[in-house]
Symmetry: C2
């Protein structure tokens, strides 16, 4: 059995996320699995590094599938991109070691959240950024973010319907930068709970606009109470940038 | 009568162009005129600096309309953006001199064409760039572009159904630059014939990939024969960047 590793870029706007959700077959995973079946003739399971929610994008999602097919990598690559819709593009196709598992072997992931900090949204970014018109203090956001770095129980930042028993994760890095009217928040962690990235950003936004104090982030983390953290930011501003192995 | 000048950014993907075309009321102009009428209560004609075709975008289209309304500029601005769909955003609203006419007074326009020069399209640029997978020689394209600078009869670069009697225009500048896999072609002219920008780019692409000689551009221009120039590039790669007054 060959083990094939894919690096995938997608615009998540028209999908109900990476993985099966509710009654939708319009997921990134399902669309790629159907293309693989057309090429190899086999039904393969595609394992992604992790789920992305409905409307969330990816610059470089990583996934793998097993196949008995002997079709050369280059042909699989060309065939996949010709079968896939324009909003999903396979950037790399590689032969992986037999034991490689895109989900289990992921050491960390980097998500980027994009905020348009202006009175009006740029029409070209309307599907890729969330608008915040409040004046934002980036310095305060950076200070608050420091409380989140390290190994913590992130229960307060998990969706209320999140089902993870173990909500301890390690956040390695949070970088916040401003370029013109855009604010980029990069979060690297060994794993993300459901809605964790969007809830962290929502909380940092409350700090940035002065509604929460810088120290409140420490208290929210300790209290492990979802109701105290900021609002869940819209999915469209979130993008999976990199998966590290 | 006040004369109001608007600077407008739009994603042209879902529109049949700036101006009324065939049987569609889904034009940028019509959508903005309807919003103006809701705000001022008057039916105003919106004069754009020029038409953009179906699917063509604008970073800064300029237009003006006259009104008897005394609503302050800031309120017109906010009201327009709250009424307009997300893919049309008004960036500036100004009081113009009584005689200002966005079309007649335009001294020159700059259009930018974006080419993704790679095997695969970036899904985030699929609506804003055209893909060319041939290897492109930018140096040859720059040399060929020089033949087009100046005052010429651009009949060869006009759409076959173009109805302009006077096809003489002045091209002030053509800048071609490559950034990663992207090629940007900026064309500044005192006016553009129907499809002229897209036909110039189509011709430069033929030169860049070696199908046309550098000198052929001079011959095409002189022959004034549309059938000899390159293909019309897709609308989605074209964007009106600036109107100079």
């Amino acid at each position: 059995m060959r083990n094939i590793k894919l690096t995938i870029r997608y615009d998540g706007t028209s999908y109900s996320g990476w993985q099966f959700q509710k009654n939708s077959s319009r997921t990134i995973q399902a669309v790629i699995e159907r293309a693989i079946k057309k090429i190899t003739g086999e039904k393969s399971h595609l394992t992604g590094s992790g789920r992305t929610d409905a409307g969330v994008h990816a610059m470089a999602q990583v996934a793998n599938f097993r196949t008995r097919s002997s079709i050369p990598l280059k042909n699989i690559h060309m065939a996949l991109n010709s079968l896939l819709p324009e909003d999903i593009v396979i950037y790399r196709v590689e032969e992986a070691k037999a034991g490689f598992d895109a989900q289990r072997d992921a050491k960390s992931k980097i998500y980027r959240y994009t905020i348009m900090n202006a009175d009006f949204m740029d029409p070209f970014l309307r599907l890729y950024a969330a608008k915040i018109f409040y004046t934002m203090d980036i310095g305060r956001m950076r200070q608050a973010a420091k409380w989140l770095i390290g190994r913590h129980d992130f229960r307060a930042f998990q969706a209320t319907d999140g089902a993870e028993k173990n909500s301890v994760r390690t956040v390695r890095k949070i970088d916040i930068k401003k370029e013109g009217d855009l604010i980029y928040i990069n979060i690297e962690a060994d794993g993300f709970l459901y809605n964790m990235a969007r809830n962290i950003v929502g909380t940092l936004v409350e700090v940035g606009r002065g509604k929460f104090s810088v120290e409140s982030v420490k208290d929210i983390l300790r209290a492990r109470d979802r109701r105290r953290c900021g609002p869940t930011m819209p999915a469209k501003g979130l993008c999976l940038i990199k998966v590290k192995y």
